[in-house]
Symmetry: C2
Subunit: 191 residues, 2 copies
């Protein structure tokens, strides 16, 4: 009774992750508009209703992909910050890493920041990976800076704006490095 249902639960968890990675793969290779429940079901070799036994709907699948994305983003930013030669360089390293993440995983970034998801931001039930990503920005400022949370929000917003406007062709794709330079120069003195 227990061993069997344990095995089932294991299989179920495995399939759960299979759906998430399949959705992500499909989105990264063909864009989110190609991610339909039918095509996704075909990929994981199950019928459509199986998807709905794991997720409340398509939005929940996107949310799950986004959540994975936030874990990766937090790790990516942390790695960049800790690899910085001195704490003063952390700001630049984190910002560059952020833009890198956005341009190299556009579909993932879209799921995290543009597509409608069920994720709760900036509240008590904010999932840890989201909070961890945000905290990397906060860590760019001195611990005794009383307004570091606010500064982090603005910094994050600016980076997000640069990432999304250049990705959609609303500002020229080149010149990212100069924009980043300017932004950091203006923010740096508030550390």
């Amino acid at each position: 009774m227990s061993a069997i249902s344990e095995r089932r639960e294991r299989e179920r968890a495995h399939r759960h992750q299979l759906i998430i990675t399949a959705a992500r793969d499909l989105a990264e290779t063909e864009g989110w508009e190609a991610v339909t429940t039918r095509r996704l079901a075909e990929r994981v070799e199950y019928s459509q209703p199986v998807l709905y036994s794991h997720f409340n709907g398509k939005d929940a699948i996107v949310s799950a992909v986004a959540l994975d994305g936030f874990s990766e983003l937090a790790a990516h930013l942390r790695r960049a910050r800790q690899a910085a030669p001195e704490p003063g360089q952390g700001l630049r390293a984190v910002c560059r890493a952020y833009l890198e993440f956005a341009t190299e995983r556009p579909a993932l970034y879209q799921a995290m920041f543009i597509l409608p998801t069920d994720l709760k931001f900036a509240s008590a039930e904010t999932p840890p990976p989201l909070r961890a990503s945000f905290d990397e920005f906060v860590s760019c400022f001195h611990p005794d800076n009383k307004r570091r949370e606010l500064f982090a929000e603005v910094l994050w917003s600016a980076l997000h704006g640069i990432a999304v406007l250049s990705a959609s062709g609303r500002i020229p794709p080149d010149g990212q490095e100069e924009r980043l330079d300017f932004l950091i120069t203006q923010i740096a003195d508030t550390r």
Copy 2:
């Protein structure tokens, strides 16, 4: 022959605008997900195919709404800048006006900056209203500032980030004023 076809063309142009305003009204009251070709056709009291004799598809309708939006945005920003007591206050006035525009016309803002459109940004065939909006940001900097275009891009990006992240609940809705304050303080010295 000429008088008649002139009248027809007039009527056609009128209907063209009717479709655009109907789409905008519907989006502003019920959101873009409620703007379907069927509901839109019903609103303008024509059948669906008529829409396609005016626009290449739904995206083109959204683009037309967005284009109208850019005209209004440019006018809105210009008014704010010119109403500023002294040129040094122009930056703050324009930024505040921008965020105001984004929060008070969310559906319009979405069409302009988030939904996929056919509009060409930052190129030779960029429609004048787009260029005019961007130029309002450029005008916030001194005419002899050689990098003012770049600075304007970053400023615009930051404001867009703030607008869109707060609208989607990814940063807290309150505190906009402080964020704006911080942003302007950091940018002001580069005028």
